[in-house]
């Protein structure tokens, strides 16, 4: 039997109290791990989302509010249209590597989601769209047969949720038209997985917006040239240039302000856990006044008692850390679900990124908390004088 066993046996003696305290620590750790994991995961998911878009720059109609960039990211339409001429005008710019015109449209489908209703996102594209997006591949079928064909390509999730495959027909709500599905994209883990893609010309015709675009996606030969490129576009009064890093920044800003709020909640949880640990250990020290006195009388030194009490605190915090990490890992899906409901924009892919590093750091953090919160009770216990304790027992 060693010190550790001695400390453990004492905690076992007061099972429910020890477990409640461990639970408190576990919750604090779980909150911390989940939040930090979310922080890392969200940034990574967002970055990968933006990178997967393939564009570095989006050109939209002027007046399209800045946040509309967010809407474009999330697959919804920009608010305003621009003339197709602008596309022809800038397509010859020497810094452009790849360029593709985009026309996004939304239509409300009362049948969607099993009758609950919802928006369907239609995206008019040209072949250059695929060239710009290296990760967009066909799961089945292929490209439209003609520029003006009544055909559609479904995003992975759109096909899944509608139970459609190549050759099936779909219609657009309130439009008198039937489209044949010619292809289905593989999962890209972006918002576009839920979109219905049509040929650009077909989209313009069906939605009665001939000669208009909502955006132009551009990849530059060198991203460093972006400011020169923007300057050249400046004279075109009716458009604005939005770089993806700007979009990222805007979204991250939104997320950051939410993060500060959540972080302060986490710190309160941790603070409460610390108080709980101190209270539990201190109570047990006071209850064991006589026992500690006996141990000292039979030869335990100050440092022995200090070590013993401290070890109890560490056991509580270590177990709390382990349980908390387990909760964070397995409860991560639930957290993700909640976050997706609350966040202004949630990128595709996993939001919660719990890395071994993160777990190790949170664990170390909790051990440090244990060390700190054990100090006072341990000091208190170690300072007890055996003679007084024995006398009070008589």
């Amino acid at each position: 039997m060693k010190f550790f066993i001695l400390a453990y046996k004492n905690l076992k003696r007061r099972k429910s109290r020890s477990f409640l305290t461990i639970g408190g620590v576990a919750v604090a750790v779980a909150v911390l791990v989940a939040l930090l994991g979310f922080n890392a995961g969200y940034q990574e998911a967002l970055t990968s989302d933006v990178d997967k878009m393939g564009y570095q720059v989006i050109v939209t109609a002027k007046g399209c509010p800045y946040e509309a960039a967010t809407m474009i990211l999330s697959g919804e339409a920009g608010l305003r249209f621009m003339d197709e001429d602008i596309y022809n005008q800038i397509t010859s710019d020497p810094d452009i590597d790849k360029i593709t015109p985009l026309l996004a449209q939304l239509a409300y489908d009362p049948e969607k989601q099993g009758g609950k209703g919802g928006f369907i996102n239609y995206l008019g594209i040209e072949k250059s769209y695929i060239e710009l997006k290296p990760n967009v591949k066909f799961k089945s079928g292929g490209w439209f047969s003609a520029e003006n064909a009544n055909e559609a390509i479904l995003g992975y999730e759109a096909a899944e949720s509608e139970q459609k495959s190549v050759g099936d027909k779909i219609s657009i709500p309130d439009k008198d038209i039937t489209l044949i599905i010619v292809g289905i994209f593989e999962r890209t883990a972006t918002q576009e997985d839920g979109a219905v893609f049509l040929p650009l010309k077909t989209t313009q015709r069906v939605f009665d917006i001939e000669g208009k675009l909502t955006g132009i996606g551009i990849k530059l030969k060198q991203i460093e040239k972006i400011s020169e490129f923007e300057e050249r576009l400046y004279p075109i009064a009716s458009i604005q240039v939005i770089s993806m890093s700007q979009v990222k920044g805007t979204i991250l800003n939104l997320v950051n302000s939410a993060k500060i709020l959540i972080m302060s909640v986490a710190f309160i949880a941790i603070f409460v856990a610390i108080i709980g640990v101190i209270n539990t250990i201190l109570m047990s020290v006071f209850e064991r006044t006589q026992e500690i006195g006996i141990m000292k009388a039979i030869g335990a030194s100050r440092s022995d008692i200090f070590k013993l009490i401290w070890m109890e605190t560490l056991i509580i915090c270590t177990l709390g850390g382990i349980f908390g990490s387990v909760i964070a890992i397995f409860g991560g899906n639930l957290t993700e679900l909640l976050v997706r409901k609350v966040m202004p924009y949630a990128p595709g892919g996993r939001l919660l990124l719990i890395t071994p590093d993160l777990l190790v750091y949170s664990f170390l953090g909790v051990i440090i908390i244990g060390i700190i919160s054990g100090l006072y009770p341990a000091f208190k216990a170690a300072s007890m004088r055996p003679i007084e304790v024995i006398r009070s027992g008589e």
Binding site: K9, I294, A300, P386
Partner: protein, 229 residues
């Protein structure tokens, strides 16, 4: 080899409690040799416990000289006092003072932990056998009788092979039969292992079963009897 285990010279202890000054020991001189079996007798408040606490390094004297096993604990700090207690002194108390959440064997192992003596694995078991409790190793204090509790406490006191065994009213909570058995255990330990034993007791009959009886009264030594057997 040291002849004296305890050498007290003008040993004085004063307590202050609630603005009251209590002189528990009034400059007493006592010498106890190695291998002696001594009982300290006297009424309540005579200073028996105070004397045992001082030679047991649980407390420091107010004045006077004290020599325990060749060292002077008056000047030791708490850490050093606990070192002496764990290595050289075994304690037995009236209220047994066993740790309730540890079984008999673990209670006897406890001093070994504090002494960082992890090698002597069989000693606690042997000691419990020595005090006749080898069938009670895994019993917890609340499952043991008074006599058994005190014998576990004796085994615990002997765990680190001390040079002195101190017992403060060890029979106070025992019936006559168990009290007698405890004293014959002391007697055997003293004879067979040469252990120096100092026992404070009220019990006149048991007190006189020792080799030497020191009578304290009101903090002073009244009589020092050496019994010839």
């Amino acid at each position: 080899m040291r002849e004296y285990i305890v050498k007290a010279n003008k040993l004085k202890k004063v307590y202050f409690s609630a603005s009251q000054k209590i002189i528990a020991l009034k400059e007493i001189d006592i010498e106890i040799k190695k291998g002696e079996f001594v009982t300290i007798m006297g009424a309540s408040g005579a200073g028996k416990t105070t004397f045992l606490n001082l030679i047991g390094c649980l407390d420091r004297p107010t004045s006077g000289k004290l020599d325990i096993l060749g060292s002077n604990p008056t000047k030791f700090n708490e850490e050093k006092l606990s070192r002496i207690r764990i290595e050289k002194i075994g304690f037995v108390f009236e209220d047994f003072f066993l740790i309730s959440f540890l079984n008999a064997l673990e209670n006897v192992q406890l001093p070994l932990i504090f002494a960082r003596n992890y090698k002597n694995n069989n000693r606690p078991r042997d000691l419990l056998k020595r005090v006749g409790l080898d069938h009670r190793l895994t019993h917890f204090p609340n499952e043991l009788s008074g006599g058994e509790l005190q014998r576990v406490a004796v085994a615990r006191a002997l765990a680190n092979n001390p040079e002195i065994l101190l017992a403060d009213e060890p029979t106070g909570n025992l019936d006559t039969k168990n009290a007698q058995e405890l004293f014959s255990l002391f007697r055997n330990l003293n004879r067979e292992e040469g252990l120096t034993i100092i026992v404070a007791t009220h019990n006149i009959r048991l007190g006189y079963s020792a080799d030497r009886v020191i009578h304290l009264n009101d903090g002073k030594m009244e009589k020092d009897e050496r019994l010839v057997k």
